[in-house]
Symmetry: C2
Subunit: 480 residues, 2 copies
């Protein structure tokens, strides 16, 4: 894709978004007027104002970086979004489509005809095409593949053969390769002939005649070393490399850890097949932490905040349904003790405290553990130690806060035994919360599932049912 | 700091961690034995084995990149962590301290004497020193400052004068500056004389005689253009720049948006004073999303997972105490309706369902909104639209799931009026959850507070008290 030099924004992004919204509102106001006076032969004037507004909006958009337009599109409700989208110059469509989130991209593509999609896609590189392909109509993809040369087509196919978070799907093909038996002077002359270097070129890839990677030549070394030296003398022979079937998130962590900007991807025989760059990795890091937040709250995927009600319902229903079942179980636990509640109605008022504090404390624990798992800090060998620590924390909290609430219960209901039961139940439920907070994510991990997945719903289910059972059970044993 | 070339890890990070843990366990086993047989004059043999194990561990550690050692230190409980820390070669201490999290750094520094700290700090750059300084003993910082030259000291002072997430605290000072009236050939010769370029040098900074930034020369352009051309012909005159008092997180978003690797920082007069690099920005992006997850769950800050029980209690108590108060309020709401519960004990069993589903649904909404705010997609102008959408979603969910649970309640208790009250209460509480889910974070934002802050605790408080009030209130009105 053509590279756009980012210019210093004169205004903040927020300002620019507000300006676009303002222009859109003007535009709608005029459209409203025009609509109301239709048939009154006054349309002409309004139409003119209307067009001026749109022209001003278009000028504004033409000045913006594609990433900024993408951000504006994401922040606009669907109708405004499409108005802006239609004003964007056709040759920038591709750049912008690559910048927006999947959910928003879908709404934009739905608004384009096949011809427009083809035009936007034609300027893309193989890896960009592969990113986009799964969301395009099947016949458009087919037509697109026809227009590519054999190498490009092969690259798109290869990228499509990997899962979207595998290295093979994340790599691009813009490598500058050199041989190791030439001098740096030759390399410098070769680069000059290229006229342009791919973005994020911080190193050149040194390959032999079979395309096998022999090392990398960091640009820094190229610049500071004597031009008469050979590449072989100066190159790094043991660079960090990746394989196409590696997990992209692991690669991102390596980029972060070793401060990489680009890195070669090689196949099993050591042949150079692509490269990873920091910009893709940053996107991945951001996405990963987003999906963690979302899945803890029981959302299936990133949601276009302006998605239709219907789409949102679908995105959220799985965990709501799960929650319905767990809430029903908690309700049946209470049902077991209806006799006790009838005798001592204070139990009904106090039981949500036990369950609620347990849920909150359990959520703190599980959030900690899910984070530590995501950062690879937790393994089987230290699980029991973590468990001991969390149990210690909950014991302290249970005795302190359980004690406080026990005293409050005594004052409210004048029943010191009730206060004692309250304190004991709080302590036990916090212990349960601590154990569940460690064991649930560790078990999900061992089962090969995402430990963040609905963890908040699961832990709350445990502490609700458990809390009701412990509190009402103790009350029935000691107070009835 | 000395730059370390990252080498291709032969084993995965996890493998390496496991190897270290294994060696540590061997070591402890022998120590245990030695301890038990003390005074039996057999200590000599054990001591030898013991030393061999440690030597093997040390060799292992010497092979690892500082970032990998940092990761291993983070993943070890305190006693093992300090054993490993003592084995690390003194000259690598500084690099490793800069890589670990704040919480873990504190435990490592606590284990070092002033002399060791000084030695580790002596190899650091001004910006790195400033990062570390707040956590060092006061007299060590003082002694350290004495050893610096005037420029370095000024830089440390300047970096320390900014908040830790402001650009001024994040920038480094390793800029390569050039003039615009020389040819590219001169620039190339100048770079060769430098022998080494700072990490992440993707552009050179073009300044005038007063140090005012006139543009940047991307290395890419330096390489592909004719060496006879002047810098002024080739440089980009309108680069993205930052000011030291800007928010670092905004800068990180700009890096992400415009795919930057480095960018100049200028003061109010346009004078070049430092530069930002992508590695610092990636750390910031990661930290930002982490602190969002943590603060939603009501944790004050990132916790060393092996922190003492006492430290963890302190980190978590604020929100637990808040939760205690909100749970108490919910309990008092139920207390208002004790008469109704006494008459119809089924209410006690059903009320947590209404509250629980409301809490879950509210958490989904608030997570969405907090995310959208973090991504700058939400502003006052579209708040009402979001509210309408969320209300729509909750209306659908309320009628569907409320209907289901109403029918279940009817079957359980044979009381169709109770079923209807259940459905109505569910729908109303989901509406409340939707509104609170939008309004709470928007209000926090307007008050200039962090919208993620304890949002989960706050929304649960609303849906608990609200759910109990709605359900028991409706029941009292229609069933008594």
């Amino acid at each position: 894709m053509t590279e756009v030099e980012a210019k210093k924004p004169q205004e903040s992004l927020q300002d620019r978004l507000n300006q676009v919204v303002e222009l859109l509102n003007k535009h709608k106001l005029v459209e409203d007027l025009a609509h109301r006076q239709e048939g009154q032969h006054q349309g002409l004037v309004e139409n003119l104002v209307h067009r001026q507004n749109l022209a001003e909006l278009q000028r504004k958009l033409d000045d913006l970086h594609p990433a900024d337009i993408a951000h504006i599109l994401e922040s606009l409700p669907l109708d405004d979004r499409l108005t802006v989208w239609q004003l964007v110059k056709a040759e920038r469509d591709g750049d912008i489509l690559l910048e927006v989130s999947d959910a928003v991209r879908e709404t934009l593509i739905a608004d384009m005809d096949d011809h427009e999609i083809l035009a936007a896609a034609k300027e893309m590189d193989a890896d960009e095409l592969a990113d986009l392909a799964p969301e395009l109509p099947r016949d458009v993809v087919h037509e697109l593949m026809e227009t590519l040369d054999a190498q490009q087509r092969e690259r798109v196919r290869s990228a499509l053969s990997y899962e979207e978070d595998q290295v093979g799907a994340l790599m691009d093909f813009e490598m500058v390769t050199i041989r190791d038996d030439v001098s740096l002077e030759v390399v410098l002359r070769y680069l000059r002939r290229l006229k342009e270097l791919p973005g994020h070129t911080d190193k050149l890839f040194v390959v032999d005649y079979d395309g096998v990677l022999k090392g990398v030549l960091p640009i820094k070394r190229l610049l500071v070393n004597d031009p008469d030296k050979d590449v072989a003398e100066v190159m790094a022979t043991d660079p960090v490399t990746f394989q196409p079937d590696e997990d992209g998130y692991d690669a991102a962590q390596a980029f972060e850890r070793y401060d990489l900007i680009s890195a070669p991807v090689v196949d099993k025989n050591g042949k150079l097949i692509g490269r990873l760059t920091i910009d893709e990795m940053v996107d991945l890091i951001r996405e990963e932490s987003e999906s963690e937040v979302l899945s803890m709250a029981g959302l299936r995927e990133e949601e276009d905040i302006f998605a239709s009600v219907w789409k949102s319902v679908r995105n959220r229903w799985t965990w709501l349904a799960t929650n319905l079942i767990t809430a029903f179980i908690a309700s049946r636990v209470i049902g077991l003790f209806e006799g006790s509640i009838e005798k001592l109605v204070a139990l009904a008022a106090l039981m949500p405290i036990v369950a609620g504090i347990g849920g909150n404390s359990g959520n703190q624990t599980i959030t900690m553990i899910v984070r530590a798992i995501a950062l690879d800090q937790v393994q089987a060998s230290n699980a029991s130690r973590l468990l001991r620590k969390e149990v210690g924390v909950s014991l302290v909290n249970g005795l302190v806060w359980g004690g406080v609430i026990g005293i409050v219960a005594y004052y409210l209901y004048g029943n010191w035994e009730l206060g004692l039961v309250m304190t004991a139940a709080m302590t036990l439920n916090l212990l349960l919360a601590a154990m569940a907070g460690v064991i649930i994510p560790m078990t999900l991990l061992r089962m090969g599932r995402d430990p963040a997945m609905g963890s908040s719903v699961l832990i709350t289910a445990m502490t609700d049912s458990g809390g009701f059972f412990i509190f009402l059970g103790l009350a029935t044993l000691f107070l009835m």
